[in-house]
């Protein structure tokens, strides 16, 4: 079994942790929770099958991207393997008018925002620093500098307040923001500053921290002596700890937090307890700092498996699962084809969009490079 850290920082998801919100056990049993169960009551079997499909396709994409990196098609890939429930649950709790600020491992979140997942390949293939239009999806670009975007999310939420889109009671108008970051990020000053700004301004922002137990090689105990969700409390921000491998609970706590934010109740801090099943990125070697046994223990708490057990029990026909398998196969093939066909960016891209308007230094650098390269062409002809 899991032994909780003496300080409770990495207390396992389960019996020893009374504060942990869980609506679906690793064995696929529903758990009743007085305030959170009602938040998933409306999710009928078809809706649950939708969440299942989300997780399966996102995992498929992740597996495919990891293997594309192994084949030299991507420079790097940060696997989201094992974190699907936290990402899909929270992402599906958002409305299209809400705004997400992901970190760099939020494949599931990006999927729920309607971004074509294939756009995430561009960044990791070294073709683009972004990959999609943030405004089209109310989903900001990935941010690689740990913690920075929590402040952007908070500022965006302050803008939402100024637009008057908070607390009107009109569900078509009120909106909120979700900032995604990891356990390691909680140590960054920017995260503390974001909590301060959000708190004193009652900003409509949800801090969604995926505690996947690792910041590259450092366990969460290196970042905190208290469970991470206690962090929020110190700032006067209501905080909850949820089983991040439980898609229903992740959905429920995020839905509650979003409702509070949209209605003018201010920020919430959510710690979603999950596990990074893969390497930090494809450049990483986890055997240097963790054991197979740890990984195995968490494999038994897989977010997809437990929902499958529930669905099977609640009468989802076998054809649903075989159909989805086929869909995932096709999806995988599409990803590979798409990746291979991404064209190399043109050289002018170096100079494009550094400024919104013409800038003399850029113009002269660009002119220099153009002339220089033309010299080679002349020499060749």
């Amino acid at each position: 079994m899991f032994t909780p850290g003496a300080d409770g920082v990495n207390a396992p998801v389960g019996e020893t942790d009374d504060d942990l919100i869980q609506l679906l056990t690793p064995d696929g049993e529903r758990v009743h929770h007085q305030s959170y169960s009602p938040r998933v009551d409306h999710l009928d079997r078809v809706a649950l099958e939708g969440l299942y499909r989300d997780m399966v396709l996102v995992r498929r994409f992740d597996t495919e991207a990891t293997s594309l990196q192994r084949h030299g098609e991507l420079g790097l890939w940060p696997p989201s393997l094992g974190q699907e429930a936290a990402q899909i649950g929270s992402g599906r709790a958002m409305a299209p008018r809400d705004y997400a600020f992901p970190s760099y491992r939020e494949l599931g979140v990006v999927w729920t925002r309607g971004v074509d997942l294939r756009s995430t390949l561009h960044l990791f293939r070294g073709e683009d620093h972004g990959g999609w239009d943030p405004n089209e999806h109310n989903c900001h670009l990935y941010t690689l500098v740990i913690g920075s975007h929590a402040l952007h999310a908070t500022g965006y939420a302050m803008g939402v307040q100024r637009d008057g889109d908070v607390g009107t009671g009109d569900p078509g108008r009120d909106r909120a923001v979700v900032a995604y970051f990891g356990d390691g990020a909680t140590a960054q000053g920017d995260i503390s500053e974001a909590l301060t700004f959000a708190s004193v301004n009652d900003a409509p922002v949800v801090f969604f921290c995926q505690n996947n137990h690792w910041a590259i090689s450092e366990p969460t105990q290196r970042q905190s002596r208290v469970p991470l969700y206690h962090r929020g409390r110190g700032f006067g921000v209501p905080s909850v700890r949820v089983d991040g491998n439980d898609v229903l609970a992740s959905y429920a706590v995020t839905a509650e937090a979003l409702e509070r934010a949209r209605s003018g109740g201010g920020p919430t801090f959510i710690e979603a307890v999950t596990y990074r099943m893969g390497a930090h990125t494809t450049s990483d070697d986890p055997t240097r700092y963790r054991t197979r046994a740890d990984e195995e223990a968490w494999r038994r708490r897989d977010p997809i498996d437990r929902l499958r057990i529930l669905l099977e029990r609640e009468g989802t026909p076998p054809e649903f699962f075989t159909g989805l398998e086929n869909e995932a196969e096709e999806f995988g093939a599409e990803i590979r084809d798409y990746c291979h066909a991404i064209p190399a960016p043109p050289i002018e891209r170096i100079f494009e969009d550094v400024y919104a308007t013409e800038q003399a230094q850029i113009s002269s650098d660009r002119a220099w490079l153009t002339e220089y390269l033309a010299g080679f062409e002349e020499a060749a002809s």
Binding site: G126, V145, R349, D365
Partner: protein, 341 residues
């Protein structure tokens, strides 16, 4: 085994990579002075993402090789405090682009502590930064921010180009009573060379300015370079030689201060200067060198000083970095240009 190899064994010459040379340099500094400690993200069991601190936590313990929380301002800020308490912290910043959360601590505190205490408070902090491009990385992992720090008085900024210098210079940095930004050319971490791993001690007796060296002697054109660009400059010298041009390559090794006398001495001989670095040329180290050399060697110059370096853009996507970086062709192009005058 003949006698010669026995004695070179005794002198401790090893064929090692630049990364390993820093590792051995850190180890020697820690053996020499119990006040030296290392701090950074993932530098313990993992040995750092580039394995530069590999094995050090195992041998020196987690009090001296500290896996810190993920917070660069915290790393440098607490290193300053440790230095005030008499320690010699060596901080690792995981990648060049992640030094900026610590920028405030470095520029407003670390750089000025000795000055504002009128010499009463020394802060011998070393900040190791893997820098530069050419490794196909994503955003924030290929930058060359050395000029930002060189522009800040109170900091020393040095960068080795060879395994032997990496071994010696990291120890010089740690021995320095001043704060040192130690930029490590990450694309060269795997370059191998013979290093006399017993050699460093004499340079530690006189801490102070790190001088430039002539990496290759020549008579027609001087190339001044540092860090990852020294190898490019040497390749250019080899290529030019076959066309009858003799290039002198100066490895600057220090960006603050810059060893202008060494460059000037070479330029007085060659009359032509090209400066190469990966950082943007706009307001970069090359601009300072060009200005100083035109002041000091005006009557010796046969051609304007040229710079080869990055453009005034963010570091581009890795698929375009070949075009962005000062590669061999661009260096040779500049050499041809100064020769045409």
């Amino acid at each position: 085994m003949n006698e010669q190899s026995v004695s070179s064994q005794e002198q401790g010459t090893q064929r090692i990579t630049l990364g390993k040379a820093i590792n051995l340099g850190l180890r020697r500094a820690m053996e020499r002075d119990p006040k030296v400690l290392l701090m950074g993200e993932d530098i313990g069991p993992l040995g750092g993402v580039f394995r530069v601190t590999d094995g050090l936590q195992k041998d020196f313990g987690s009090d001296r090789v500290v896996d810190t929380p993920l917070a660069e301002s915290g790393i440098v800020g607490t290193a300053i405090g440790l230095a005030l308490a008499g320690y010699r912290p060596v901080c690792e910043i995981q990648f060049d682009g992640f030094i900026f959360p610590a920028y405030d601590q470095i520029t407003t505190q670390l750089a000025k502590m000795h000055y504002r205490s009128r010499g009463k408070s020394q802060v011998p902090v070393v900040i190791r930064v893997p820098y530069g491009g050419g490794i196909g990385a994503v955003e924030h992992h290929s930058e060359s921010p050395e000029a930002l720090f060189a522009h800040t008085a109170g900091l020393r900024v040095i960068t080795p180009a060879t395994p032997a210098d990496a071994f010696t210079m990291i120890q010089q940095a740690i021995a320095s009573p001043d704060p040192v930004l130690f930029f490590e050319p990450k694309a060269r971490y795997w370059d191998k060379a013979d290093v006399d791993v017993t050699a460093a001690d004499q340079v530690l007796d006189a801490p102070g300015d790190v001088r430039a060296v002539v990496a290759r002697a020549g008579t027609d054109v001087t190339i001044a370079a540092y860090g990852p660009s020294v190898t490019t400059a040497l390749r250019a010298a080899t290529a030019a030689e076959s066309e009858g041009t003799s290039i002198e390559v100066i490895d600057l090794r220090s960006i603050s201060p810059i060893d202008i006398p060494a460059v000037a001495e070479s330029v007085r001989k060659t009359g032509r200067l090209v400066v190469v670095h990966e950082a943007p040329t706009f307001l970069g180290a090359g601009a300072e060198i060009a200005a100083r050399i035109s002041e000091e060697c005006f009557y010796h110059l046969e051609a304007p000083v040229l710079r080869v370096g990055g453009f005034h853009t963010p570091y581009p996507v890795s698929k375009l970095e070949e075009e962005y970086l000062p590669n061999l062709d661009r260096v040779l192009h500049a050499v041809d240009s100064v020769l045409q005058h």
